[in-house]
């Protein structure tokens, strides 16, 4: 038995709970990662784009002649010309969102550009430099149109309407009303109301969007190498948009240099690149440069929230009332839409607490900005920040410690299943245990004493607590499935025994560095009873893996992992049946340990290599009636639940310089319950990375648009992201409550750090500002925000 293995109910020899080193890390540290832009194909050409310089403008005339004449240029297409080469426009609505509307969108602007950065023309040349040179020769006669850049202005009575056919700029409106909110608030001992602003962000994966397409005119096979989280979804989108059957489209996602949700979407420039490859019959590569990433990757957040909490003097939370105004872009992103952020804010605000009266209203409006859509932790950073801020403020006004306030209101650990006031099913959560563990990890009482001592010395420190719930692993009865999007919400594994006893495990979920392949290998090896070195996991190639949804919504471990577990069990069952025939033994008394079939006494009877050899080559040794398959497919989905929910709690410790307004992050703590912990080290690092992405939003990140809809800070020098020097050390601990929705019990861990850290940081800043009766409620919390709150500017 391998040293790494240990017994577990989930496998005779299990790797679950072991920090197995991540596959692929050795290649990356040697500089041998293989990202899309590292791949060069013979006769490869390069695409560059002309993008709209205006937020809203009509294309009166477009002159491509000079660009077409430029040396080294192979193809130039306007948006109108591209539209003739694709099937109808996209409409980014889902039928589950009643009343939602969006305008038809073509891959590149046809008559009008609706955001600054929208692609208008594609130029394909021998080099990227040649393509960019030629792009500069394209002359466009623009007629500027009124632009809407501010979400409150979008619904004003005489506001210009971006898409006339929609009648107004409203994309979607949703309301939840449970209990009796009016009475609850009227009868409350205390009501705290606040308004919040959350800035617009973008994902800033270090590897930009990247795509290399090649089309074989002889066979009709289209191959697209692209930095994608969801190969099958994008296969469907390219196939339907370009009129090529899905099964003739191969999507290969090689190493993906960060994604965070921005690489689960449809992008017009990528479609244009593929169309060019089809037209030219030559490989065409498009790598977004950083400046075009800022104006063409999906954006996210940008919400204004007005919210109030009703509490009793005892601290009991009676209810929340939340009103959200969400600023989308010029179109609803196809096919996932741009309304999930608002939807999730309504779902999760106040979610850890037992209150029974809840009203949530959300409006999503179109703006002349880059389309916004799902980005890591969709809606959660906002819902958590709002809910946790109100809980803290109520606690302070009632003289209750923030930890104690939460203890009095959370769902008890033995109270599941429960229904949240917003209507979501909650199962297998552990707020009480998480709070207890956080208090110990933080040395909460000591930290409070330290804070008091520091105050006496004129140093302003604050402690922030934020509980969270995080929806993961969306199920097919939820939005995408019932809404009609071509997105698979089940996932699959094909597992095969090779002649040498090695195991190939092909999965529909994908790897972006979080360690998906490694944990799939752990699950397979553990369930099968083989050393992990005997398993090779394949992902990210639609020609090689079973159909699946890919990786998004923290679903890979929970959904893909369960499919692997079930597939591995099926393979094991067949192997043991064959072994029982070969050994003339009862299969129930056989087991697989460390790559060999062993009997009840633990004696090695038959290595899997021997079974592989016999079943692939020496079939005469088998009974006549035994036809080995040794390849098993299993799929898994949530049957009734819309999500699995994970939970946890964050603690932040900050210091404020009241003269400069700077916030220094001293330490951050997380207690996370992501269900069955498959690889603790990988889970910890998901949490840490997620936290820092959330902290970026809390303190730095802000896409600043002017009134004309121009992005004024679209460079990496101007859009601030978290760098090493400012970030805190992050202590991570786990409570492990397996999900009851699968045998594996994993819940997903990739997004919760991003979802909860902003709430904890904002609460810590406000805790530090309490002696000054100052509060910040807008993010990013810049030095200016703090100084304004302090009344210093």
């Amino acid at each position: 038995m391998s040293e790494k293995g240990r017994s577990s109910p989930l496998g005779q020899m299990s790797y679950l709970g072991q920090s197995v080193p991540r596959l692929g890390a050795k290649a990356a540290v040697a500089g041998r990662g293989r990202y899309t832009d590292d791949i060069q194909l013979p006769r490869m050409l390069h695409a560059a784009f002309v993008r709209s310089p205006y937020a809203h403008a009509r294309i009166v005339d477009i002159d491509l002649a000079a660009a077409r004449r430029h040396e080294g240029i192979h193809l130039v297409l306007s948006g109108r010309e591209l539209a003739q080469r694709v099937t109808g426009p996209w409409v980014g609505t889902l039928s589950c969102f009643a009343g939602m509307k969006s305008a038809p969108q073509y891959p590149m602007a046809v008559e009008r550009a609706c955001w600054a950065g929208e692609p208008v023309a594609i130029v394909v040349g021998r080099t990227r430099a040649a393509a960019e040179d030629a792009a500069e020769l394209i002359r466009i006669d623009w007629q500027e149109l009124p632009a809407i850049a501010e979400k409150r202005a979008a619904l004003a009575p005489h506001a210009p309407v971006i898409h006339a056919e929609l009648g107004d700029n409203l994309a979607f409106r949703k309301a939840i009303d449970t209990g009796d909110v009016e009475s609850a608030f009227a009868g409350a001992d205390l009501v705290v109301e606040e308004t919040f602003e959350f800035a617009r962000h973008t994902g800033v994966s270090l590897e930009p969007r990247s795509l290399l397409a090649t089309y074989d005119k002889a066979t009709g096979k289209l191959t697209i190498i692209t930095s994608s989280q969801c190969p099958h979804m994008i296969q469907r989108v390219f196939a339907e948009t370009l009129g090529i059957p899905d099964h003739n489209v191969q999507i290969i996602a090689p190493d993906v240099g960060g994604s965070f949700g921005l690489k689960i979407h449809t992008y017009g420039d990528e479609v244009a690149t593929v169309a060019a490859a089809i037209e030219l019959g030559r490989p065409v590569k498009f790598i977004a440069d950083r400046l075009e990433s800022f104006v063409s990757d999906i954006h996210a957040r940008e919400n204004s929230v007005t919210a109030r909490i009703a509490v009793k003097r005892s601290g009991e939370i009676l209810g929340f009332d939340v009103d959200v105004l969400s600023g989308a872009g010029a179109y609803s992103q196809y096919p996932r839409t741009s309304v999930f952020e608002a939807n999730q804010i309504l779902n999760v605000t106040g979610g850890p607490y037992r209150h029974r009266h809840y009203r949530g209203r959300a409006s999503v409006v179109y703006l002349n900005k880059a389309p916004s859509s799902q980005y890591r932790a969709v809606g959660h950073p906002i819902g958590n920040a709002v809910g946790e801020h109100l809980v803290d403020q109520a606690a302070y006004r009632l003289g209750i410690d923030p930890i104690e306030m939460r203890r009095r209101n959370v769902f008890a650990d033995d109270a599941y299943p429960s229904l949240s006031a917003s209507g979501i099913k909650l199962k297998d959560l552990s707020h009480q245990r998480c709070l207890d563990l956080l208090v110990r990890r933080m040395r909460y009482d000591e930290l409070r004493r330290e804070q008091d001592e520091m105050r006496l010395a004129g140093i302003q420190r604050g402690i922030g607590i934020a509980l969270f719930i995080k929806g993961t692993s969306p199920g097919p009865l939820g939005y995408y499935g019932s809404g009609g999007a071509p997105i698979s919400l089940q996932d699959a594994c094909v597992i095969k025994l090779e002649p040498n006893g090695g195991v190939i495990c092909a999965v529909g979920v994908t790897e972006q560095g979080q360690g998906t392949n490694t944990i799939m290998g752990q699950i397979a090896a553990g369930a099968l009873g083989v050393p992990i070195e005997a398993v090779r996991v394949i992902s990210g190639d639609t020609d090689a893996v079973p159909y699946g949804g890919g990786t998004f919504g923290s679903r890979a471990a929970a959904i893909g992992g369960e499919a692997v577990l079930q597939a591995a069990r099926a393979l094991k069952e067949e192997i043991l049946a064959i072994a029982s025939e070969l050994l003339q033994a009862d299969p129930a008394r056989l087991e697989i340990v460390d790559g060999s079939v062993v009997d009840a006494a633990g004696t090695r009877r038959l290595p899997l290599a021997e079974i592989g050899r016999i079943c692939h080559f020496q079939l005469g040794e088998l009974p006549a009636g035994r036809q080995p398959v040794l390849s098993h497919t299993r799929r898994f989905r949530l049957v009734e639940d819309l999500y699995i929910f994970a939970n946890g709690v964050h603690g932040a410790y900050v210091e404020i310089d009241t003269d400069t307004g700077f916030v220094r992050l001293l330490q951050h703590w997380v207690v996370e319950d992501c269900g069955r912990l498959i690889n603790p080290q990988l889970a910890d690092e998901q949490v840490r990375g997620g936290c820092v992405q959330g902290i970026g939003g809390a303190l730095y990140e802000h896409l600043i648009y002017d009134a004309a809809g121009q992005l004024s800070n679209g460079t990496l020098a101007d859009y601030l992201v978290p760098m090493a020097a400012e970030m805190p050390e992050i202590d991570v601990a786990h409570v492990e409550t397996p999900s009851s929705l699968s045998e594996l019990g994993a819940k997903g861990v990739g997004e919760s750090g991003t979802g909860a850290a902003p709430a904890a940081v904002m609460n810590a800043v406000n805790d530090a500002l309490r002696p000054f009766a100052a509060r910040v409620t807008s993010q990013p919390i810049t030095p200016e925000t703090v100084l304004v709150a302090l009344g210093k500017i």
Partner: protein
Amino acid sequence: MGGEESMPIRLTVNGEAVTHVVPVRQHLVDFLRGTLGLTGTHVGCEHGVCGACSLRVDGVLVRGCLMLAVQAHGAEVVTIEGLDASGEIADLQQAFVERNALQCGFCTPGMLMAAAELLRAGEQQTRAAIREHLAGNFCRCTGYHAIVDAVSATLERRAHAGGKRV
């Protein structure tokens, strides 16, 4: 190269003499990646902020996107592939793997180039100093904590092994 102005350059890359005619406007990193196939150096922002294209040129850490290939004429360039082959940072690479100090891996070569500079200085460093030193390298995945762990552990191991190597 079409009508583009170009120039011959001669330089050493990872110890190997290289002669090429390059467009005068080509960035060093594009030359290394596209022409020489040294794709370990990555391009993240092309305006000198993210650090993904960090290289060693004549012993100094530079941004490959802020230097033209022609400016490297006569220079000695070391990329991640060269550092890997020489074994200079084998312990650091091992520490990155053990500590999972990388996720997507796109920033990693640049991060290692920057950390190698710190290792070459041979001084023990506080975690804050390590963070300060790496503050020019953007990582969107890890949150930096594990990277600091890996660099700190390597510095410590080297100190225990008797100070400077290389």
